[in-house]
Symmetry: C2
Subunit: 518 residues, 2 copies
Amino acid sequence: MQDDSVTTPSRRSGRQRNLNARATVAIAQRPWQQPRSRLAPVELLSTDELESIHLTSLRILEEIGIDFLSPAAREIVREAGGTTLPGSERVHLDRRLVESLVAKAPPSFQLHARNPERSLQVGGGSTFFCCVASPPNCQGLGQPRHPGTLPDFRTFLKLGQQLNIIHAFGGYPVEPSEINARVRHLLCLADLASMTDKVFHAYALGRERILDAIEIVKIVRGIDEERLAREPSFFTVVNSSSPLRYDKPMLEGAIEMARRNQPVAYTPFTLAGAMAPITLAGALAQQNAEVLAGVAFSQMVRPGTPCLYGAYTSNVDMRSGAPAFGTPEYAKTTLISGQLARRYRLPYRASNGNAANGPDAQSVYESAMSLWSAMLAQSNLMMHAAGWLEGGLCSSFEKLVIDAEMLQMIAAFMEPTPITEETLALDAIRDVGPGGHFFGTPHTLARYESAFYVPMLSDWSNYGRWQEGGAQDAFTRAGEIARRLIDSYEPPPLAPDRADALADFVARRTAEGGAPAD
Amino acid sequence: MQDDSVTTPSRRSGRQRNLNARATVAIAQRPWQQPRSRLAPVELLSTDELESIHLTSLRILEEIGIDFLSPAAREIVREAGGTTLPGSERVHLDRRLVESLVAKAPPSFQLHARNPERSLQVGGGSTFFCCVASPPNCQGLGQPRHPGTLPDFRTFLKLGQQLNIIHAFGGYPVEPSEINARVRHLLCLADLASMTDKVFHAYALGRERILDAIEIVKIVRGIDEERLAREPSFFTVVNSSSPLRYDKPMLEGAIEMARRNQPVAYTPFTLAGAMAPITLAGALAQQNAEVLAGVAFSQMVRPGTPCLYGAYTSNVDMRSGAPAFGTPEYAKTTLISGQLARRYRLPYRASNGNAANGPDAQSVYESAMSLWSAMLAQSNLMMHAAGWLEGGLCSSFEKLVIDAEMLQMIAAFMEPTPITEETLALDAIRDVGPGGHFFGTPHTLARYESAFYVPMLSDWSNYGRWQEGGAQDAFTRAGEIARRLIDSYEPPPLAPDRADALADFVARRTAEGGAPAD
């Protein structure tokens, strides 16, 4: 044997103790838990460099301004001391106004799920992972890529509910395209609120959809308006329409969220070279201006309302204009955005992006860039943490399981490494001695069940056994795991009176015609 | 469009400027360059915790001792002040002796390739990536897994030579199993020295093989023994046979390396739960003891001889005994080992490991854990950086290209992010204004060719174009890239007199019967 050839006692003897066939083995999941960062945050930029991004953003808001496409929103800005011009959608925000408003947002808060065990800490060193959201298409479990349907949507909810490492739903895992847009939010939110017991997101597509979401969350949590305002219970993402523009439906959704103290993650989608400058510094300055304008706006509506600093600055392929995710540039902006969020003491939202057309090696290494940089940036909310493909145009059941394994690995990596006299094991090393081995020693036997991360998806059997077992690659195994989890899904309990009230509400609002189409 | 749906100007218009078919596009490679870390190293343990690992290792060497299976090596230890016992292979090393010897190893040094442009800095913030080494099997380019042959070996050399991100060869990319072990090193080292112009490694499998490597490197560099001793020109890895044992061939190879000032990377293969304690703290204490014993030994032979701190502590699957790599535990030990290497001011060797049986998603996410942790640990030498599968039992052409893309991405991520008035782009943002776009602006046009990392393997085209182009996944594309690189390989120039001398030397040593079999 040479250099690093791999030989373990079991390989030497040919002994294998993997007695159970895979199909009967329980799916290994970490228990429900929010990971907490124990590493110092990684600082890609110096304090001075970060400050120059900050100062550039303030100049953007002061000198260039930003378009708010809602008259109601502009009225709020004007009353709060911003500058508006008659006949113009442009608003200008003075730096002192921006800084004093942003400082009012809380550094951390709780998100209350209908099942209190699924409530989440947002900020303060903890993180949580959301299921993929919003693709129009999906693929997997034997089905080729196709426009999403309500059955697909529901299958994703089952899978997301079953995976402990999926802490929340960041939107619809796939758009059920056959459902009329006027009532889609009613059906989907009712499913999210009843088929899962985790925190969910509602789209800020106009005032009415947010008001419907508020009613639904009140029904399934059994709370009144006053308690809702004390207990943030769902969240939304507000994307700017970069560069420097917030659309009417999103602003008006944000107003209703803020009025009730419900959190908004302001997330510019600033692709460097397209909707933002081609230089990362410039794209980040613009991103930062757009986030600050959003957070300041929420504080104008209701000081102290929870907001997140959302980042989504990536780059395009300059040869084709195609967007790219999980690139080296994306990893950098993810880290620098974390620095900016910490500067403003705001919880930080990042994402697990990739631009691959299928759940192949590219989708995995781009996701790995996204996940590692988000973890090192101490993100508090990871959107699209599992199941995303094609830069968000397709969701995948198999990729969801692959990502869930990666998330579990990241969570296990974030666990502490105890260094004690016991773990330093001098006595065990002495007892075994040079040339011995540690299998079967008391020190090993006392710990072997919980010593290491147990994978859900990874197959560590040797080539021969893997061949005998059907030589399934990770994609095939991921599909099998997804099927088993979906098949064993059971709806989380919901009190019958709340279930009835929910059904009544959806029926009434549907009969009324739902919400205006986009 | 909702939330994070991806729309760029080009998608909106349907315009695409990717005019060239893939087959005629040049393969995008970063230029030859050693990446340099610009991040502060990540500290997983506190200084106190690190110190307790250090102190435990010193007690191991003092109280338990370590077996040196070479009488010549034990004699060197005895003369240097270590304790040996008649009739025993055990040596005991006093902590002051260990610490004073380890302090003599240089913190950084150069490795001289026969092509001076391929010479490498070892230590001092820079890193380099080695091709996969030592698997008995290989797969890919249409061939199923099979025992390696000399033609396979040579094909890997061509591919490794062609990839700029492969800085060196860490051993034989696959073992040519049909070549008799007595002469295998002669053929393989002659190929490494002539078919590539990069730094290479020679196996420390006994005194004779190292002496042959020394002659070969002198011939192709055209240098004498004295200059070789001034200019480290190749390297070896010495693995302990854990727990706490160094075998005879490796120790005797290490002696010849040290005598000529050639570097050794001491790398215990300490699988927690098998050859080392099941606790990471204990496995690291044992690893550290074994590394320190090795480095101290080299310094006994020749004070100041270059050594690397090598780490390879992973865990086994406690259900089957199978070794695992790229696990959360592996990422932790990689980071902590980097802390230990910095504590001793030694260059640090890490690896890109995975335990997958094919180049699938598992192989990629396990590699990503390995690569990110090695980068954050500021490793100076990455062994097996590209092409490894099955915990080192198989090499793969496709995985080599997939890993090369990941390495290029890591290298691009390590580039600085300039924050200047120009890059902050306030004027460009002002010119474009709210609602505009940045395609085609002077600020963009001046930078679009070099603004972003250009991938070698990733395909960012949208789903429709990807389908039209044959819907190739990353594995298929990687095989295509490998084939094109291999087909366009040209041997790097070697002066005819040196080529002749090399052929003569190999012929003579082969006629003499080569080196003793293992």
